[in-house]
């Protein structure tokens, strides 16, 4: 009878035969110990631990051993498999822990059931807040050190107290759920997985600033999030948690959803307000800040989804509890959507101050391809790339800014050596150029001009002076754009220039793309020694640039070749080379 299962995986990067070898040695050892019928060995595809040599996971004991050597097998069989005792020095010690504060209910509770949320301490913070009074609530949030999770990192408590202290008996609370960074889905997951937490955060914030109406500004591309938030509002309404005289107190607040039509710039608060008012979503100058003159000209507080989702647990557990987590100036946790060339992509939540290396290699598992890690991009189109030698930087608002990137809303894209930095800069800049509202000149024209310069560089039609032009425009955009979109749109270009200027120069001076990504700079040739003369490449070529026959082999006419790469993709023998 099988009593235990041992999962085996060689997690050494690039190793292909390690698992099998170890599996065979282990099988032999089990047979020797006459345990072959009781212990099942499984070659696992993924154990969730990376770059730690041979990793074993023993079930049902749930013991994980890392960096196991062949000579450890005897000990493992004797101590753990026979007697169920762990071996201390082999135990896997994860260096980076995820800490789920914002995501704690996601996947654990039924997001469509208010009872489930209440059973998990839901709405207790609201009740406590109503008893404590707005000033205490603001004091707690200020003391907790919570900063805006939408990207700017503005202290939440300060924002609340500014809105509260502006005179006026009509104030508004807005939840900014216009998440739009490429590859980012933190806010969507929170709204879909734990909508009541955000509603509770909204109500507490509304109570603190003195609002009686709140709006969720959710992008229309998030149908499930919209459905669940609406359902949650309705349920809360039915329970008397939203609407008139909440918890029997004097505090009344209604919540409504407003849909964004997919404009990235509407995540900028003044553009968002214009959009809710039914106007064209373009930013307007600040001051006046929304806390003074916001929605319909009234004092308004706008907080991001993740910021609000943090609020109930801060009120429940106290500011001291929250401010123990994180770094000196960045408290709490941050949710990141780790995507790109990473092995283990997905949503993670880590305490502030976790190093990028831990996020990419410990939690993310390094690159999916096993190829060399090149850089990680944070902060979406407003952020920048961070190269390998800076990976030990602890993640917080100030550190990332110093490196020329930003925390942003939490997109994190991992890149390996196949990614060309000019191409990456082009991708992000293109996003901002497409999403610019077109109101102010530096962003509208500057972005477009920069994109064309980058296009020229990736085609090998640029000079070194173009790098200076890029810097000149980038500065004008940073300094003279009206809103955050334009002010930060040049960041991906500036940060790639800062860390990978060599790559730019290589494109310009030698007309060569080191990552072989910029197809216009590649030259395709057929290696005669490897060519099997099958003719597949010639048939796939859309320009008929490959000539020859099955007898004499094939050649590429470089004058007619359009560098599309079809032949490279189709050749089964690796005979087409690109240089």
């Amino acid at each position: 009878m099988i009593t235990k299962t041992v999962l085996i995986k060689d997690t050494t990067p690039g190793s292909t035969s390690g698992t099998k070898e170890f599996f065979d040695v282990f099988t032999a050892a089990l047979r020797e110990s006459k345990l072959a019928d009781e212990i099942r060995l499984v070659r696992a595809a993924d154990i969730g631990v990376y770059n730690h040599g041979i990793v074993l996971k023993i079930l049902p004991d749930n013991i994980t051993y890392a960096n196991v050597q062949h000579h450890d097998i005897k000990r493992i069989i004797g101590v753990t498999l026979k007697h169920g005792n762990p071996i201390k020095d082999l135990l896997y010690q994860p260096r980076a822990y995820q800490l789920r504060l914002v995501l704690k209910n996601c996947g654990r509770i039924d997001p469509e059931s208010i009872d489930d949320y209440i059973a998990h301490d839901g709405y207790r913070a609201l009740s406590a807040a109503l008893q404590a009074g707005p000033d205490t609530v603001i004091r707690e949030i200020t003391a907790s050190g919570l900063r805006g999770r939408g990207g700017g990192g503005f202290p939440t408590g300060l924002k609340w107290s500014m809105t509260r202290s502006t005179p006026g008996n009509e104030k508004y609370m807005i939840c900014n759920a216009d998440e739009g960074d490429p590859g980012a889905y933190m806010d969507r997951s929170v709204l879909e997985g734990d909508p009541h937490a955000v509603i509770e955060g909204m109500l507490i914030a509304g109570f603190a600033i003195g609002a009686s109406q709140g709006y969720f500004y959710i992008r229309a591309e998030y149908p499930l999030a919209i459905e669940r938030v609406q359902k949650a509002i309705d349920q809360a309404h039915a329970y008397g948690l939203v609407g008139e005289r909440i918890f029997g107190s004097d505090f009344s607040m209604d919540l409504e959803i407003r849909l964004g039509a997919g404009a990235f710039v509407c995540g900028e608060e003044t553009a968002l307000i214009a959009s809710i008012e039914g106007k064209r979503g373009t930013p307007s100058p600040r001051p006046p800040y929304p806390s003074v003159k916001g929605l319909w000209g009234k004092p308004t507080c706008i907080n991001n989804v993740e910021t609000l989702a943090n609020v109930p647990s801060i009120i429940r557990n106290g500011s001291a509890w929250f401010s123990r987590i994180g770094t000196e100036n960045s408290k709490g946790t941050k949710v990141f959507a780790v995507t790109g060339k990473v092995r283990n992509s997905g949503l993670i939540e880590v305490p502030m101050g976790t190093t990028l290396r831990d996020i990419v290699f410990e939690i993310g598992g390094g690159t999916a391809s096993g190829k060399r890690f090149k850089a990680v991009q944070t902060g979406g189109p407003s952020g920048g790339v961070i190269p390998e030698h800076l990976l030990d930087t602890p993640v917080d608002y100030d550190n990332l800014q110093k490196l020329g990137s930003i925390m942003g809303s939490g997109g994190m894209i991992v890149m390996d050596e196949d990614d060309c930095m000019v191409d990456i800069a082009k991708f992000y800049l293109k996003f901002c150029v497409d999403e610019s509202c077109g109101k102010c000149a530096p962003c509208r024209i500057g972005g477009y001009q920069m994109l064309n310069l980058l296009e020229n560089i990736s085609r090998g039609n640029a000079t070194l002076e173009d790098l200076e032009r890029l810097r000149l425009i980038a500065k004008a955009m940073q300094k003279a754009s009206l809103c955050g979109l334009g002010q930060t749109a040049a960041n991906p270009v500036l940060s790639t220039l800062r860390y990978f200027e060599d790559e730019y120069r290589e494109h310009i001076l030698n007309r060569r793309c080191p990552s072989k990504k910029c197809t216009a700079l590649l030259q395709f040739i057929i290696d005669r020694s490897r060519c099997k003369k099958c003719g597949l490449c010639a048939r796939s070529c859309p320009e008929k640039a490959i000539t020859g026959d099955k007898e004499h082999g094939y050649t590429i006419d470089t004058a007619r070749c359009i560098n599309c790469g079809m032949c490279f993709e189709t050749c089964k023998f690796g005979a087409v080379e690109r240089n």
Binding site: P285, C437, K439, P442, R444, I445, L472, L482
Partner: protein, 277 residues
């Protein structure tokens, strides 16, 4: 009262005064482009940026209220470089049409380029090539010459409450146009002329039919008469540099006859009749 300094010069201004207004009070000129004294600032162009001591951001002077104790710097190499780059960018998106432009010599962009001493183009030209709209008898809209200052839209929507003009599209392909992209003649436009009189460039200008009039006057088969609106007798005086309000009725009649009109009708008689009724 707020006390601050601009380039080291102390200013005393009322609360709510913008940096631009405060600078004018102490004879410091901050260049502007989209700003117009009749209109609330749209803050679109980014030419009027200034530095405030203690901040590494640059602020728009046109829309930022001056605050107590601010030390403002309006000119230094960095500020001028940014302004110049922004201007070069705007010029890279504007046709070099000056000689045949309706706004030649009365163009704010032309003046600014001259003030900055622009002699060559730093960036390649990108012109959208949107066709002109000359569907009305009053104006020509030339979207390629628009610098997106937003004055016409502000005037049309907020002051005149007509809502004939708006911005359409996004980013580099955004443009001002009659709402929903219709032609001006189909739009609610009432041809009030406020947009064209506020346009800093040749993007909206009055339809010029001078040549047609000359042709008719010189055609012996035509009997040409002219009728003038009541306001023209005063407006023309201003155009020729007379003090505002100077009545030019006599001179106007004379010059029209000298041009070759056989009869001059004056709407002011009809206007008087209307008033009497």
């Amino acid at each position: 009262m707020i006390i601050a300094t601009i380039n080291g010069i102390p200013v005393h201004v009322a609360e709510g005064t913008t940096i631009l207004e405060a600078a004018r009070q102490v004879q410091v000129k901050i260049p502007t482009l989209c700003h117009h004294p009749d209109l609330p600032p749209t803050a679109a162009c980014g030419i009027c940026i200034v530095k405030v001591q203690g901040s590494n951001k640059m602020l728009r002077a046109c829309c930022t209220p001056i605050e107590e104790g601010m030390n403002i710097l309006t000119h230094d190499p960095e500020i001028v470089e940014v302004r110049r780059t922004v201007l070069e960018l705007i010029l890279s998106n504007h046709p070099n049409d000056c000689l045949k432009c309706g706004r030649n010599q009365s163009c704010e962009l032309q003046n600014l380029a001259a003030a900055f001493g622009i002699r060559e183009e730093l960036f390649p030209k990108f012109i959208s090539g949107i066709p002109k709209d000359d569907s009305t008898n009053a104006f020509v809209i030339d979207p390629d010459k628009c610098i997106h200052c937003g004055r016409c839209i502000e005037i049309c929507q907020e002051l005149q409450q007509v809502w004939a003009l708006s911005f359409l599209g996004r980013g580099f392909s955004s443009r001002f146009a009659p709402a929903a992209g219709m032609r001006l003649v189909e739009s609610p436009c009432v041809e009030c002329g406020q947009c064209s009189s506020h346009c800093p460039t040749g993007a909206i200008f009055e339809l010029d039919e001078t040549v047609k009039v000359w042709q008719k006057l010189q055609d012996p088969d035509n009997y040409c008469v002219v009728q003038i609106a009541p306001s023209v007798r005063v407006a023309i005086g201003e155009a020729f540099g007379m003090p505002p309000g100077t009545n030019m009725t006599g001179k106007l009649y004379t010059v029209l006859r000298r041009l070759g009109f056989k009869a001059v009708f004056d709407t002011s008689f009809a206007a008087d009749v209307t008033v009497m009724e």
